[in-house]
């Protein structure tokens, strides 16, 4: 028998193939976003050794486990503070936070706004399926009104967050929204965000046919694509105050914010150096033998 060379999928080196199949349901959009993510990495020719990915808990929280990068599956809502520590300790790392809407905006909401305020150089990809999917389809802070969930059997009446508006107000320098229908735009947007210094945020609307759509008689994954195609309007630069989502209304997508603000680590180093002069020692990681790299004897005294 002659062997036939099977061409490798260009995204394969980015994935832990030995962990396939993944856990996501048929029609789920998370895998699509991961494909866009890997395309963005290919396009941006990123040094993958220096790229780390941090996830929280939930369906999207599993992304870290499938990417062949330094990857961290942390606790619920705490991907951002973990990523903050990782980035501060080792600034040469490019740190991507990849998590879901419930993880980032409910239990982790406080961390998200503070990281945006500080403008820590993190790239946040938020897959928004409008629901807590891993636990069976409960109401999330992103669930629009008049939607049936497992914890809102008569429909939702809690107002939902408008994520781009919130993140812009908190200080993000890059804010965009796409759906899993917009695969090319999403990949391009991710690549663009990776080039940006500071706290970047992309919301990706992604279908959950198993829970959100089924309970609301909204069809399957393909129907979600048709819906996204039909109701999405690309409006770059749209005021984020005007991009709130509803159950069946227009989905405004595009790049909403692209601005400059001083990034956290650079600001910290410059400021401290200015204040301390020669006494300032720039942070460094442990050396290969596991010790602190030696330095000059400390001359100042801190006696109280």
């Amino acid at each position: 028998m002659s062997s036939v060379a099977i061409p490798q999928n260009p995204v394969e080196p980015f994935l832990r193939s030995e962990r396939m199949p993944h856990i996501w349901c048929p029609g789920c959009g998370i895998g699509t976003t991961v494909n866009c993510f890997t395309r963005a990495l290919l396009d941006s020719k990123a040094d993958l050794t220096k790229l780390a990915i941090v996830s929280g808990i939930g369906c999207t929280g599993r992304v870290a486990g499938y990417t062949n990068l330094d990857s961290f599956h942390t606790t619920h809502g705490r991907a951002i503070p973990f990523a903050t520590g990782l980035k501060l300790a080792n600034p040469e790392l490019n740190v991507v936070v990849y998590s879901g809407d419930g993880d980032l905006f409910a239990i982790g909401g406080n961390h998200l706004i503070h990281a945006a305020r500080r403008n820590v150089n993190l790239k946040v990809i938020c897959v928004n399926n409008l629901i807590y999917a891993m636990t069976g389809g409960q109401t999330a802070p992103t669930t629009p009104g008049d939607v049936i969930t497992s914890t809102a059997p008569y429909g939702t009446y809690d107002p939902a967050f408008n994520l781009p508006y919130l993140v812009e107000a908190a200080g993000a320098v890059y804010v965009a929204r796409w759906t899993t229908f917009h695969v090319r735009q999403l990949a391009k947007s991710m690549a663009e965000m990776f080039q940006k210094k500071g706290f970047g945020f992309i919301e990706v609307l992604s279908p959950c046919p198993t829970l959100y759509q089924r309970r609301n008689k909204m069809g399957d994954g393909l129907d979600a694509m048709k819906f996204y195609k039909q109701v999405s309007k690309i409006k770059h630069g749209a005021p984020t105050s005007e991009v709130a989502l509803s159950k069946s209304g227009e989905i405004v997508v595009g790049k909403f914010v692209d601005r400059e603000r001083p990034e956290y680590i650079g600001t910290m180093n410059t400021y401290l150096e200015q204040q301390l002069g020669e006494r300032y020692v720039e942070p460094h990681t442990l050396s290969d033998d596991g010790g602190c790299s030696g330095g000059e004897l400390e001359v100042i005294s801190c006696n109280r």
């Binding site: 832990r16 962990r19 050794t49 220096k50 780390a52 941090v54 870290a64 486990g65 062949n68 990068l69 330094d70 990857s71 961290f72 599956h73 942390t74 606790t75 809502g77 705490r78 503070p81 973990f82 990523a83 903050t84 520590g85 990782l86 980035k87 501060l88 300790a89 080792n90 040469e92 790392l93 406080n110 961390h111 503070h114 910290m268 401290l272 301390l276 006494r279 300032y280 020692v281 720039e282 942070p283 460094h284 990681t285 442990l286 290969d288 033998d289 596991g290 010790g291 602190c292 790299s293 030696g294 330095g295 000059e296 004897l297 400390e298 100042i300 005294s301 801190c302 006696n303 109280r304």
Partner: protein
């Protein structure tokens, strides 16, 4: 390995326990701290915030203790030694990440300056009432190490020890001060750097293709790497195999969780530090730790003046609990007296390890101040009778 001289303020100092603990952390090689202000622990990070930029360190004040306790773990995987500091209410918030550190075997140090609880309790006053929380506070089965200094000097010494243990066993290690030890000011001798023994981080020497993140080495502890070195590690709080990949099966749970336990318990004799005095031939042994050990000393001295054969056992390591020393002493005495600034926590361990071979008498105190030595003396006299 010796301490990096850059972080060591060699000399005689007049420091409180909080400040001394900070100097211990820096001497141990800690170059990262994340914290959230809370009385009576804040002075530790206040000093670190001042010192860090002069020693190549970073301090970040986080939005809450949940954040602080996981930020340090991100920093550890980034390749530094890191710690956080808190007290009661903040410690309660950190429980989630104590479990994460235990499960992911992330070496890190928590300094808890204990105050009266429950809830907001007594923000400025002492207690020793987090002693069971530190052991059992996060869900699931796991082991930690907890040390109890009774002076500013020990705050310095034991914080170094805490970092060393954390690197050696890859566990979260706790320095359990109390408000009095944290705020009392005494002489603290900081030795020259070359006299301070530091446990380095055990980075693997293996190439990425041969390396498995959770393959146990000597002492049942796996070697570490840091992000960015080409190992493409996966770290998860889920039950995982040696590659670090989720494997949520009963057999894997059995292997992993039992190793998390045995890597500490099998080495308990090396981790359990204590001070024993006049225990041989004693009728009564007073078991104490932290600030209460200093009050108990007075009661022990008074009892000896009265001719009572009383010894003392000061626990320096609270967890793992020094079972062996208690069970060895138990059959030789009339009883243990256990004073502590809580309504009965470590005394239950003493009682358990005594195994019915002797009496165990508690001298409880709800906290807010230290014991009156007389209450301890009375218990000693009662047991000796």
């Amino acid at each position: 390995m010796h301490a990096d001289p850059q972080g060591v303020l060699t000399g005689a100092h007049f420091l409180d326990g909080d400040h001394a603990a900070c100097e211990g952390a820096i001497a141990a090689g800690a170059r990262f701290a994340a914290g959230y202000p809370i009385t009576p622990s804040t002075e530790v990070v206040e000093r670190f915030a001042m010192r860090a930029p002069t020693v190549g360190g970073t301090f970040i004040q986080m939005e809450d203790e949940l954040a602080a306790s996981i930020t340090i773990q991100g920093a550890v995987w980034g390749g530094v030694k890191a710690f956080t500091v808190t007290s009661g209410p903040g410690f309660s918030l950190m429980m989630e990440h104590i479990g994460y550190a235990a499960m992911t075997e992330t070496p890190c140090v928590f300094i808890n300056v204990q105050r009266g609880g429950p809830s907001t309790g007594l923000p400025t006053l002492p207690a020793q009432a987090d002693m069971m929380q530190v052991r059992w506070g996060s869900h699931g089965d796991y082991e930690i190490i907890a040390l109890c200094p009774n002076s500013p000097q020990e705050c310095f010494d034991l914080t170094i020890k805490a970092f060393n243990f954390s690197e050696q066993y890859r566990v979260p290690v706790f320095v359990m001060l109390d408000e009095v030890v944290g705020h009392m000011t005494e002489k603290v001798i900081i030795p020259p750097a070359e006299e301070i023994e530091i446990e380095p981080r055990h980075f693997t020497k293996k190439a990425p293709k041969d390396f498995r993140l959770y393959e146990p080495e000597a002492n049942q502890v796996p070697d570490m790497v840091k992000a960015g070195d080409g190992y493409n590690i996966h770290v998860t709080g889920l039950t995982h195999d040696q590659r670090g990949y989720p494997d949520m099966t009963p057999p894997m749970q059995d292997v992993l969780v039992k190793r998390l336990q045995s890597k500490i318990l099998d080495n308990a004799d090396k981790i359990c530090l204590f001070e024993k005095e006049n225990v041989e031939g004693a009728d009564v042994v007073v078991v104490s730790y932290g600030i209460t050990s200093r009050v108990a000393q007075r009661a022990v001295d008074q009892a000896r003046e009265k001719g009572v054969k009383v010894g003392k056992l000061r626990l320096i390591t609270a967890w793992p609990f020094p079972e062996r020393v208690i069970s060895e002493i138990a059959p030789t005495i009339k009883g243990f007296v256990v004073p502590e600034l809580n309504l009965g926590q470590m005394v239950r361990e003493v009682e358990r390890c005594a195994g019915g071979k002797t009496r165990t008498v508690r001298v409880s105190h709800a906290g807010g101040t230290v014991h009156n030595p007389e209450s301890i003396l009375n218990a000693i006299l009662e047991v000796a009778r």
